[in-house]
Amino acid sequence: MSALRTCLAGAARLAPGSRRALLLLAAWFALAALGPLLAPHAPGEIVDREVFAPFSVRHWLGTDYLGRDVGSRLLWSVRYTVLISTLSTLISCCCGFVLGIATTATSVWVERVLGRLMDGLLSIPSLLFALLVIAAAGESIPALVLTMGVIYMPGAYRTSRALALRIARADYVTASLARGENRSFVILREILPNMMGPLLSDIGLRFVYAVLLLSNLSFLGLGVQPPLVDLGSLVRENVLGLAYGAPAVLVPTVVLALLTVGINLALGGQRS
């Protein structure tokens, strides 16, 4: 409990840039949670004869290739994009961080074996790996979440391990060991609070990666399947609308850019 409090205290003392990043993330989560309640139409409901309709008062963001309301579908797709990316980020970061920090305290052989495994995973192109797994396991949301979680775990592992190794050499850790503190105390109370800032920005970065990979998969038709929608699949199904400059294809693209570039910029402020 007190470990949690220390971590939260660490987060509260973050640079303004990092706080901004958290705020932005919170805004996206709010949209994912509440967005569909605001949607005027059901996502699958065909509301208009006109397809690829432009912006209008009736349908703010126009209609898609079947004449469905783009605004409503967009609100639903944000939910799935954010949800799946978040879950897979949580999986990759939790596993990666725990393993990365734990290997600083275990025997060198554990690290050698685990480290090479992680290197192996890291060397496989992520899109190719995801295509392979989904082709084998079938397209479902749990499969997507797990696959993406595994893909981004080695990065989280490496980052946290490098950070923890540096901090484990700090003199205050030595002082704590000289006092006779046990490993879990040293890890949770001495090391972890001092890596919270970089870890949080790493989580953000991995979230952005996950959004992009998910959108890629959906664009290729292997991600989220109808009737569910995410940003990538919205772009794919309306790609014909490009010829007409339809909002149905432009708006999801812009939202995707806002989501990734926005978080990236917010994290960029943290580095200075």
């Binding site: 220390t6 205290a9 660490g10 700090a170 003199d171 205050y172 030595t174 002082a175 704590s176 060991l177 000289a178 006092r179 006779g180 503190e181 001495e190 609070p193 001092n194």
Partner: protein, 607 residues
């Protein structure tokens, strides 16, 4: 005659993160005549380096010269544009930085770097520049002046690099040289060589200089005039002897007093108390292991030491002599290859993990860098309360009260309790570090260079605190240092460490006179004294010693043989010196009979 350097009403402002400006240097005026050396004295943050750099028309990023005039050798430096400034720097004024080790490019030979200013300013053709460099190397008393330039920085010692850096500064024959703490990072025995080399060259060439330092004894040797700075403003200025002997400003007086620490009173006579810690035949090293399990490269080699209960044992030596390894070994953080540690009558395990909690509690370390040993994520209160809970099971209000009492003990205000280490000053952090060690209620405290990173006034206060606490709590301490003044101010007994060997043990009070190991003599006589002319005396005394080339140090011989003026050929270099008991319980490891060792002259400035 007009002044060569004249600064009038200089203001330098720095920009805070929120955009507001803060004065780093405020209304500083000073003058230096041709051929004079001016010392800028002050603690860290007093603006001394900022002023020295501004003479070269340079301010650190985020700062600007916000007012005043700087005139150097007829140039209005504060009004110069980048182009002429580039020509001015290195040619008219040059700079010797504090840490020559990091100022040289490790990938280039020294020669190329030393003559570079002469080439880039078109002062001399390459051939002449090379000749002048060799002349300077010779004048700086560097070994092998003809060939030393072909080496790379990592092949030379810190003292040699510092002299090479001075040679680089002088290669263009500038009118003004700025020295920025050039000897602060060096050992006393090296410092004296560097100072001597500097002074000889400067006097011969009539260089005008500005010497930035916080060491008053160095000021006494090199400077004609001195300016004492505090918080960016001039606090006192005048001829060196005037400033050092009759300081007027209260701060200047404090500074002078801090460098004249009172010598610790001898512990009450009578039998020496039983030892609380005893090291026997301690060997620590690395490399391949021989048949007896001893490593080939030894950091500590056969250390025998004991700390009597309630006394402070000082351990002194140059960098690399094994001081810190000794501390780490006693603390159980460094494995030893041989030898035993006995603590309060029990054998102490080599690794801290195998010691009992009670043993760990009774033996505490206060490390050199309080910045590094206090976890920045914790409040001071949490740091202290953790130790109280860990060792004594105190919780809640009880622990809080005890932590506040500890803060009081180390003379910190209670407001520190809620703050985190990065918000504290260096001296405050060192006090917290102390309080943490005391929280365990230890029997023995290992103090590893606790004042090395602090300014003299702050360091003096910490030493006073240590002496007080030791007296009131009856602690036993090991006090590791390279500073002889600090050693004499707090220690009862002294062990002199050289190359992993204890070459001498004696009472701290008798360190300055009587018969000593030749290395102890060298160490004691190398500590600068705060009177002008001291450097001349010492160099005159030593002139005799530096004739024959030193023999290589062979395994098993005396560690001092390569530098010893009175070594016995064919004995000292391979036969381990016997430990001879001397007057007052001293133990000296030397082949000479004690009667043959010349006694140290009682230095008058030392008392």
């Amino acid at each position: 005659m007009t002044a060569l350097i004249s600064v009038r009403g200089l203001h330098v402002a720095g920009r805070r993160r929120d955009g507001s400006e803060v004065g780093i240097v405020r209304d500083v005026s000073l003058e230096v005549q041709r051929g004079e050396m001016l010392a800028l004295i002050g603690e860290s943050g007093s603006g001394k380096t900022t002023i020295a750099l501004s003479l070269m028309g340079y301010v650190r990023p985020g700062c600007r010269i916000s007012g005043g005039e700087i005139e150097v050798a007829g140039y209005r430096v504060d009004q110069m544009t980048p182009d002429p400034l580039r020509n001015f720097r290195g040619k008219t004024i040059s700079y010797v930085a504090q840490n020559a080790g990091s100022a040289f490019n490790p990938a280039l030979t020294l020669h190329r770097q030393v003559i570079e200013p002469a080439l880039s300013h078109w002062v001399l053709p390459r051939r002449d520049a090379e000749r002048r460099a060799v002349d300077l190397f010779r004048a700086m008393a560097l070994p092998h002046p003809e060939t030393i330039g072909a080496r790379y920085p990592h092949q030379l010692s810190g003292g040699q690099l510092q002299r090479l850096m001075a040679a680089m500064a002088l290669i263009t024959e500038p009118e003004v040289v700025v020295f920025d703490e050039p000897t602060t990072a060096l050992d006393v025995t090296t410092q004296i060589e560097v100072l001597e080399a500097f002074r000889a060259v400067l006097a011969e060439r009539g260089i005008t200089g500005v010497y930035v330092t916080h060491d008053l004894a160095v000021v006494a040797q090199v400077a004609d005039r001195a300016v004492v700075l505090r918080n960016g403003a001039v606090c006192e200025s005048g001829p060196t002897s005037e400033v050092l002997e009759r300081p007027h400003a209260p701060y200047a007086r404090e500074l002078v007093e801090a460098s004249r620490l009172p010598v610790r009173a001898m512990a009450a006579a009578g039998p020496v108390p039983e030892p609380v810690l005893t090291l026997s035949d301690m060997v620590v090293g690395y490399g391949s292991v021989d048949a007896r399990g001893l490593p080939a490269r030894r950091i500590l080699d056969g250390i025998n030491l004991s700390v009597p209960r309630g006394r402070i044992l000082g351990i002194i030596g140059e960098s690399g002599c094994g001081k810190s390894t000794l501390v780490r070994t006693i603390a159980g953080l460094q494995a030893s290859a041989a030898g035993t540690i006995r603590f309060r009558g029990e054998d102490l395990a080599g690794a801290v993990a195998r010691r009992t909690p009670d043993q760990r509690r009774r033996l505490q370390i206060v490390a050199q860098n309080a910045d590094l040993v206090l976890n920045p994520a914790w409040t001071v209160g949490a740091i202290l309360m953790r130790v109280l809970r860990f060792f004594h099971g105190l919780r809640g209000a009880e622990a809080r009260a005890e932590a506040l009492r500890l803060l009081d003990l180390v003379r910190l205000p209670q407001s520190v309790f809620e703050r985190r280490p990065p918000e504290l000053s260096g001296g405050q952090k060192q006090r917290v570090n102390f309080a943490r060690a005391l929280a365990a209620r230890p029997d023995l405290v290992l103090c590893d260079e606790i004042t090395a990173a602090l300014d003299p006034v702050v360091a003096a206060a910490i030493l006073e605190l240590l002496a007080d606490l030791q007296a009131t709590l009856g602690l036993s301490c090991i006090f590791i240092t390279h500073d002889l003044h600090a050693l004499r101010a707090v220690c009862d007994r002294v062990a002199v460490l050289l190359g992993g060997h204890v070459v001498e043990q004696c009472d701290a009070a008798s360190l300055m006179d009587g018969v000593h190991h030749p290395y102890s003599r060298l160490l004691v006589s190398s500590v600068p004294e705060m009177r002008p002319g001291w450097l001349d005396e010492v160099t005159r005394q030593r002139q005799v010693a530096t004739d024959a080339p030193p023999p290589p140090v062979a395994a098993g011989g005396c560690p001092f043989v390569s530098r010893c003026a009175m070594r016995i050929e064919d004995i000292c270099d391979h036969v381990p010196p016997p430990v001879v008991p001397g007057a007052g319980g001293a133990r000296i490891a030397c082949h000479h009979p004690l009667a043959d060792l010349p006694p140290l002259l009682q230095a008058d400035g030392a008392a």
